[in-house]
């Protein structure tokens, strides 16, 4: 379960909006730049690391001049560009079953079809696989398959699960020791670059700046109307920080621009940007758990903004790092702070922790309720979601609803069914608001 699409939403064009959405253009350029670097890595003499979004050690990879390739992001990009279906079919042809995580199959299918990236250019084979294990067991199996395919060096950072709901000093020490004794030596070996902790400190300093602005942007949804959609818009906002840009000045600049745009939206009391322009009236404020469906992303989003539903907070925008609860990368404690980052990713939090977080979001953002989009092929995170739903309902007294779709398998998005449930849910919220006066006689 992970995140961050590349191409920012092209809002309905008007000269004014193009200026307003400078951050979108910036992000689009950044992502295109990274694919460019990937495509030219061999000719530029650059080495490539593949890694995951949760527990993404981008600053560390940059210390070794490694280009960061994120298979999940490739899967998402292919999903949004309607290419994932055929890649999944390719993987299934080679024996991967229907129930396997569709990120995995989209990635394997892409490799089987010659590793042509979402932008149509080749993605080079990785020189190293860096697996930060943060709560998703499938990730481990996925990289096992990739190791088999690419026969390259593979290093695993084992991040202990926060089963007790908190990180301990032991856990942190364990991760730091792995970084020192396993991860850094492997990265040095593959890249031929000597580790320089001051370089890491510099990157982490940039990260913290960007994180500060990201949190400000996410928390802007506490306004009424919310100037952002923290789910459909949110997946764009987390793009740079969750992927190959955390720690870069470009990311810092992106979040500075974005924050400026949101400041303006708040001043003008504007709702969130949607693919069809600004959302006009805010009727429902929701907290969402679970990733969006990527293959029908626009259709899915439309079902919300057409009804005046805005997502004010989402857990999915925390899978690549939870910053709004206070964590920042700390240049004074570089390796320890990378350890804390990995431990705190949403994917590494236990069920009670997730429930507490959602409850807090519902209260802090004055939401009308919780919506769970449960992912058919994601066994790790779908398990327990109904329990989360019931408990959040009980604690907040707010209605919750449950829909099901998939990440990047277009076969598992049933538009009519989802629309039916969403509209029922919105009407349910309305009905609850009406309370006893609207009740049957």
């Amino acid at each position: 379960m992970s995140t961050a699409p590349a191409t920012p939403v092209a809002a309905k064009p008007s000269s004014v909006e193009v200026i307003k959405e400078a951050s979108m253009i910036k992000q689009k350029d950044m992502i295109a730049g990274n694919y460019e670097r990937l495509a030219n890595a061999r000719s530029l003499g650059l080495k490539v690391a593949s890694t995951f979004v949760p527990g993404n050690l981008n600053e560390l990879l940059m210390c070794f001049d490694l280009v960061n390739n994120l298979p999940e992001i490739n899967a998402i990009q292919n999903g949004m560009r309607k290419k994932s279906g055929q890649l999944i079919v390719e993987a299934e042809k080679h024996g991967h079953s229907e129930d396997v995580c569709t990120y995995v199959k989209a990635d394997l299918g892409m490799a089987m079809k010659g590793n042509i990236g979402p932008d149509g250019r080749p993605v080079p084979d990785p020189d190293i696989l860096l697996l930060s294990y943060t709560g998703c067991f499938t990730f481990m199996k996925w990289f096992e398959l990739l190791r088999e395919r690419y026969k390259c060096e593979t290093v695993m950072l084992h991040v202990p699960y926060e089963g007790e709901g908190r990180a301990t000093a032991n856990m942190r020490d364990y991760i730091v020791s792995q970084l020192k004794n396993e991860v850094i030596p492997a990265l040095e070996r593959v890249s031929g670059v000597k580790f320089d902790i001051d370089r890491l400190r510099q990157y982490l300093k940039e990260s913290a700046k960007a994180e500060e602005d990201l949190v400000w942007v996410l928390e802007s949804a506490k306004n009424r109307p919310s100037p952002i959609d923290a789910y459909f818009g949110g997946v764009y906002y987390i793009g740079p920080i969750f992927t190959a840009f955390r720690g870069t000045p470009e990311a810092t600049e992106y979040y500075r621009l974005l924050r400026g745009e949101i400041v303006e939206r708040i001043a003008l009391r504007q709702g969130p940007t949607t693919p069809e322009g600004d959302m006009k009236s805010e009727r429902y404020r929701l907290v969402v758990e679970g990733p969006p469906n990527w293959t029908s992303f626009r259709d899915f989003w439309k079902m919300f903004y057409d009804e005046g539903a805005v997502v004010v907070s989402s857990t999915y925008t925390k899978v690549g790092g939870v910053y709004d609860l206070g964590f920042r990368h700390d240049p004074d404690h570089p390796l320890e702070s990378l350890a804390d980052y990995c431990l705190g990713c949403y994917t590494n939090r236990n069920l009670p922790g997730r429930i507490d977080m959602i409850e807090k979001y519902i209260n802090d953002y004055q939401a009308d309720g919780l919506l769970i989009n449960s992912i058919k092929s994601c066994n790790s995170f779908s398990a327990g979601q109904l329990l989360v739903l019931r408990e959040v309902e009980r604690r907040t007294g707010k209605p919750a609803a449950f829909i099901e779709s998939d990440l990047v398998d277009p076969r598992y998005f049933s538009a009519a069914n989802i629309k039916n449930r969403l509209e029922s849910y919105f009407q349910m919220i309305e009905q609850k608001r009406g309370g006893r006066s609207a009740a049957a006689h």
Partner: protein
């Protein structure tokens, strides 16, 4: 009179409920959903209107002294005559279209022979029509398409063979024409047909000796009161394409929840098994939905599952339940997938299992699937109201009672004979409220 309409457009049938200002149900109507949702809604609404007029006539007539003993049979005769009149009218239209469609059909070139064959078929259908509506006659369905279709096929097979024109060419004409008949908007002139039916009943029952002036007054009471459609709310499976504007649409979940609450105010959990979906809904003491779950993507375990099994077994849908009730044991059916269950059914038959026992297993399978959806919605709470077409199936109800008892203990299980109208009832209540608020 101001009326408030609720329409539930289901995958199989479309239902309408008409309410007065005090939220009393004054009429109910049902029709097959056909390919044209707009027409289906209008037909169902029209049926509800007919039902309301009949009820008004009955109320008025019931005030006559000395009629109490014969009122029920008189009304039953009147309704049968009215239905027969409608049937014959539709049949004439079907015949006209069949003849019109000969040109351009596979039978083109043999027009006069085809015309003769079609006329023979319809002569037979007209001739036997009164027996279909005779007192005590059992019809598998009340929908024109079903009644006319099954008889057309039987007669056309015979005539197609004897005329040498073949069954297929006649069937082709029927298939094309029935769609056109069903696509016609219903006649809103209820009065004409009603009066004719009344004349026939009175003529055939001279012994009734009802004072003409009183009957005429009752007719006026029933027909001359304008039933003004104040507001209409639609709901149903095809909600995306419902022929109503957005502000007239309510979620079927909310409508079923509210409808069940109106029928049984103690309801806390509702299970609705319809043709293509199964819904489990939790409501509060005001009928407000607290949570819900539905089948996802796949219609396994819904009403269509039973329809498919009936087709596999070559029996009528309504025969499944009674057959399952004869079981002496329950064969375990592993699959709730409709297609797989069909294969399992054939396997079991081949192994020599009794049809009744297999049927019991299939009914259990459908209810097991519903139990899973129920538990995901928050379980079964007292009182539990079961609605939808499958609630009419006694074997499904038996399995449900058993599984609810096993999993949740004793509780009141409500099944209303009019449960098929639950969604439309809720929609009508929303319709009433829309004006109120």
């Amino acid at each position: 009179m101001r009326t408030f309409i609720g329409i539930d457009l289901g995958s199989t049938t479309t239902k309408a409920v008409m309410m007065d200002e005090n939220m009393n149900v004054i009429g109910r109507g049902i029709t097959n959903s056909r390919s044209n949702y707009t027409i289906a809604s209008r037909v169902a609404k029209n049926e509800a209107m007919v039902n309301a007029r009949f009820a008004m006539f009955r109320d008025s007539l019931g005030k006559l002294a000395g009629i109490a003993g014969i009122l029920e049979s008189f009304m039953a005769d009147l309704e049968r005559e009215f239905r027969l009149g409608n049937f014959l009218e539709n049949l004439a239209e079907l015949e006209r279209l069949c003849i019109e469609n000969i040109a351009g059909s596979r039978a083109a070139g043999r027009d006069s022979a085809m015309r003769e064959a079609v006329e023979s078929v319809f002569d037979r259908l007209r001739g036997e029509a009164p027996s279909l509506f005779a007192p005590g006659a059992k019809r598998k369905s009340d929908f024109f398409r079903d009644i006319a279709g099954s008889r057309f096929m039987a007669v056309a097979e015979e005539i197609g063979k004897s005329s040498g024109l073949g069954y297929d060419s006649l069937l082709g004409l029927y298939d094309k024409s029935i769609i056109e008949v069903e696509g016609r908007p219903p006649s809103e002139d209820i009065g004409g047909g009603f009066r004719q039916a009344l004349d026939r009943v009175l003529a055939g029952n001279a012994a009734l000796n009802l004072p003409a002036a009183d009957v005429a007054r009752a007719v006026r009471d029933a027909m001359d009161v304008p039933l003004e459609e104040t507001y209409l709310v639609g709901t149903g499976y095809g909600r995306v394409t419902l022929p109503f504007s957005k502000e007239h649409i309510r979620s079927e979940i909310l409508c079923h929840g509210l409808g069940a609450h109106i029928m049984y105010p103690g309801t806390r959990t509702v299970l609705d098994i319809g043709g293509q979906d199964t819904k489990a809904i939790q409501v509060d003491d005001r009928g407000i939905v607290e949570s819900f779950q539905m089948n996802d993507r796949c219609a396994a375990g819904c009403g269509r599952y039973l329809g498919y099994i009936a087709d596999e077994m070559n029996i009528g849908l309504h025969e499944l339940g009674p057959m399952a009730m004869q079981a002496t044991r329950t064969v375990r059916i592993n699959s709730t997938c409709t297609v797989f269950a069909g294969a399992e059914l054939r396997d079991r038959l081949a192994l020599g299992e009794k049809r009744e026992d297999i049927m019991a297993g299939l009914h259990r399978a459908i209810i097991l699937r519903a139990m899973s959806i129920l538990s995901r919605s928050g379980g079964v709470r007292d009182q539990f109201t079961f609605t939808g077409g499958v609630a009419k199936n006694e074997a499904a109800v038996r399995e449900l009672r058993k599984l609810v008892q096993e999993n949740y203990g004793d509780m009141a299980i409500n099944i209303n004979p009019e449960s098929i109208y639950t969604g439309a009832l809720g929609a009508a209540a929303f319709s009433r409220r829309s004006v109120e608020h």
